[in-house]
Amino acid sequence: MSLTPSQWAALLPLILPALGACLIPLMALDKDQATSKWIRVVMYGTALLAVGASFWYLTDLWNTGAQPSFHQLRMDRLAQFTGIFVLVAAALTILQSWDHFHQEGWVKGETLSLLLFSVTGMMLFASTSHFVVLFLGLELFSIPLYALVGTVRARPESAEGGMKYFLTGAVASSCFLMGGVLIYGLSGTLDLAAAALTLKAQGLALDPLVLAGAALLLLGFLFKVSAVPFHQWTPDAYEASPHPIAGFMSVATKGVAFIALLRIFPGSLAPLGTVGVKMQAVVAVLAVATLVIGNLTALVQTNVKRMLAYSSISHAGYLMLGFVAGTPAAYDGVLFYLVIYLAMNMGAFGLLTAFGLVGEKTTFDDLRGLGWKRPAMGISAAIFMLSLAGIPPLGGFYGKYMIFRELVGTGHVGMAILGVLASLVSAYYYLRFLVALFLQAPGAEAERLASDRPAVHAPLAGATVLVCAAIVLAGGFLQTFLADGFARRALVDGLGLIR
């Protein structure tokens, strides 16, 4: 069978990481991979190469403006955006995991392979409106993540976290599947965009089964973005997983799910007008719950990873507010926010690796005084935390600004006020991070332990942190480029959403 160049073009960005994912386990067959450095170098090199090649190819596509497709896969601008987004996250994760697994004292090639599978699945998930592919993509990125979360064999919590993630995830994807099936049943097609048109043509837009189907679909997305009340796996899974993986999950899963939600609900299902309205209503309610519960619970965490998990929940709330506003500009804001969020969260999790925190030693107390020992990391941490809190002139502020602006513009002033109050609360726990880093001296016990341990050596993680900090800063000063040149074009060319 032969493929046309255009089809190759659509497939290649997925094939490259998939190929890497297939190759790496072969290298991992060697038993001594933990000790022989060159194997590790080759494995990580392969993974980076796969990611890098895909990234390079996607940017090339982006620059040429081509939007090829292969069967149900549509490698349009939005998909390219997603691909770039995910690949950057993956590259950062790979770099961080080199150091992290070294600190933890074990290396498994399989983790890289699973990561790449997941990357492939994510790109697929956000690049189609066909339900079959959508579902397969969802599973292709979820199943490796279940395994990744549970992969830290040394820690009892790891398998527990993986199990929780798996079970809730499986329930959610079953619901998602049921929803898709219902819509298929009434429309007769598995392509959601076509289904919406058919249903509208047949006057079935308000059929209860269709609405139920849409609701179940939405549930699938909301689970992945960890919106309340589908959020409870998040802190457990993050705490259980290795730091880079937690970062990757927090960023990529959420980002991809939001983009897919964008593609499906305001995109494909747009002809079913009611569905969109109801989606906004539900999302509005749940966004409130998400903001409140996410922020309040984050307030009382002592473990940094759990704090970051709840913070990621609350950020899902802000992003959902973009959907509540539901204007093209708001979606633009969502995409922009995601870009910054990628940098902020990958950076924040990368910090844990860069500071050499391993295992369960990820409480605020373990961070004390580290900001002064590692000034570059400290400054980056300040950038991330303040940006997460939405303090100008950092990137995080602009994301919130765009979303809140649309929210206010569409008359949701109350929601906007809630949103800003939520960021006020969030500022407290983000500051706590900085308090620990800069304003508190390490305890005597910690000092003693630190002197026993070898010095932390995490150059790659440190580098990723700096890159992330640079992106966050760039988000604050090149906001137009990111929002208009990147996010907006993805929306315009990919979804045709902006006029």
Partner: protein, 661 residues
Amino acid sequence: MNKYYWLIPVLPLLGAVFNGLVGKRAGKGAVTIVGLGVVLGSLLLAISAFFAMKGMPDHRLVLDYGEWMATGALSVPFGLVVDPLSGTMMLVVAGIGFLIHLYSVGYMHGDEGYARFFSYMNLFVFFMLTLVLGSSLVLMFVGWEGVGLCSYLLIGYFFETDFAPDAGLKAFLTNRLGDLGVVIGMMVLFAAFGTLTVSDILTQAGHLAPEVGFGVLTFATLMLFVGATGKSAQLPLYLWLPDAMAGPTPVSALIHAATMVTSGIYMICRLAPVFTLAPITMDVVAWVGAATALFAATIGLVQRDIKKVLAYSTVSQLGYMFLGLGASGFAAGFFHVFTHAWFKALLFLGAGSVIHAMHHGAPSAHAQHGQEDGAHAPSDPGVSPEQDLFKMGGLKAKMPITFWTMLIATLAIIGFPGTSGFASKDEILYLAYLKNPALWAVGVVTACFTAFYMLRLFTLAFLGKARDPHAYDHAHESPATMTLPLALLAVGTVLAVWLGWPKAFGGDFRIEAWLAPATTFGQLHGAHGEHGSHQLAWALASVSTLLGLGSAAFGYFSYKDGLAVSAARAAQFPFLHKLLLNKYYVDEGVELYLLRPIRWCGNVLWKLFDVIIIDGVGVNLPGALARVSGDFTALLQTGRVRNYALSMALGAAVLLYVFLK
């Protein structure tokens, strides 16, 4: 010459700056030269300005030096005005000021803070001259507050003691309380006249009808009078003045007797046409003055501290002046200011000379005044030994110059016929009688008390025999720098009468005509003194003088043989004696019923309102609530995956409900 007149106030300022900045390093000689020199220069310039003013057709010399604070409709220039009123006052300030500076050279010679002292004194002269010469109320207020500041600094001059800082603080704050009145008064006047320049206000005031009832001007003038009560130590703001005696004696003479404390009277004279428009205020002024005069005089009857006696006497005499003003006798009131300046300064300097003499043993003035808090006085802890009248006696022999000058001053203050004190006091009493005989009666009683306590003071200090032989043995006449001013002041006391011998006794009371351009500002309000007759004046004067002399005699005989007679009398009226001795317990009352509640209030506001209500309920409570609710929401995260699934199922139910609704 005109273009140098700005130096009249500024020269002392320069002196103050010099003495303050480099005085200590420059040495005492330089300080003395500069400190005295600037005041002398100022005095000479003032004399020149005075005659320049006399040469002007309307007796007004207006000097303008540009805008100070102007914005919007408000414009306050740096302007000086020399007219008969300010000119006279200027001369008094510069003249007596110079004498007292001269006196201080001797008095303060041993003090470490010599330069600092002269710096403050120069600064005081600067501010006092600004007060006197300022063309607008605001500039007057500059001096007004500035002399308060200097008073504060000089009272607290012996800052390393316990008592002096307290007294300084009390003086400043009481003055500030009065100053609030001035500020409010100025605001009202500005709102009423649209200007704060005195001449403009007076011009406008000339076209107005007197207020019947309580009007704007009544309010404004009352507020200004509040300021005057503060500065001139009238009821109820007199409290600071007796305490102010904690400062060095020259300070008491210059600031707390001759000049600063009379600025309240000066201000009312300045604004006489406005005050005249407010009859209610005039009544208040008169009655407050009378009450103060009597009240302070009663306290003066029993004090042991020589300076305290003089302080209460000052308060009392200031009351007289206000009584005169209230009776529309602006010229009379001001004349008393003038005469009082001479004889009270003289009394204080004489007292200072006595104290100087009584002091023994300690070589430096520093240590000498360190004892002024009276910690060592065995018989009365409130009075330091060298100021204790009960320990003096018989000093006549030891210090003749002081004795004689003091005698002149005492005669003047008790209103011995023919003295300047008699002239000014009689005029006031006469006008008071015309206003209301009751006021006259109060004045006469006060005069009797005055005569009594002055003779008591004089007798105890100079006559009889020494009650503290040790101190007596060491007593000596003061140096020439101190006695010379005494002599000059005595001359002034005697000659002052020339300016205002009452018409009833064949004089011309020329000061009235002399001041008329300033006090009436060309209008004809308040042309008093024509209602009565010379017979009435004679009768009144005879009564008061006879009573006064009788009291004086009573005072002399009571104390000429020591303390026994008075002690017996005190035992006869223990309650009254104690009440007077403790100054009617006013200080204690203020502390108990005013200051403590305010501090309590501050504490309550702070601890209850700030810390508990705003910070606790308003700020920390939401934070705590957020944390508590965070603890609660964290409980939802049970760790059991079934619960997670349940919450998802609930979410699903919500989703389905909303979609299917």
